[in-house]
Symmetry: C2
Subunit: 111 residues, 2 copies
């Protein structure tokens, strides 16, 4: 959970950075923009993330209202993480990172 | 300095995240998009950053080619950090974070 000062800084970039300004949260957002994911899928896909960091990241993102956690009453119970409407509204940020990364990779290749 | 695998991951979002995927680098970029800054100015502006983390961040960003470090031969020498052309090309990413933050803040205010 963010403190009030962290959630409501003066600068709008800092506001966004407070919610998704780290490597793992950005990569989790990238994945959830495609479809809902289960914990173990994310853990397998995000190479190098520990269970604790993934758990903490997902809990913070849920508390911040950018992802939802849905438990399906199956045996064993299935838990899925998905973007909330607020999280979905961050799509342009991830798209601009994707576009920049594509241009950068194309440039590196042509060097 | 990034390893080859970190600099050239398959996913373009991961490529971008490897270069600026953390709180302080994003906030440094935000500042340098306006004008060149001196070390002490940045240190004063980025509340809570340690000298070591600021130094390390600037060195990595310089090694990654997104910022430049210019020493002006004055007494005492003046050192300024500025965006390189590559760093400047990240402007749309920061702009999308700014836009999202502005919308988020406006929404919070109206609640």
């Amino acid at each position: 959970m963010k403190t009030k000062a962290e959630l409501e800084p003066e600068c709008p970039v800092a506001t966004t950075v407070a919610l998704i300004g780290n490597k793992w949260k950005l990569l989790i957002m990238r994945n959830l923009l495609v479809r809902p994911w289960r914990f173990n899928e994310l853990h397998k896909n995000l190479e190098g993330i520990s269970q604790k960091v993934l758990t903490d990241s997902l809990r913070q993102m849920e508390a911040d209202g950018i992802i939802t956690r849905t438990v399906y009453p199956e045996v064993p119970p299935r838990v899925e993480y998905a973007l909330s409407e607020l999280g979905e509204s961050m799509r342009p940020i991830l798209m601009s990172m994707q576009e920049w990364g594509n241009r950068y990779k194309a440039q590196k290749k042509s060097e």
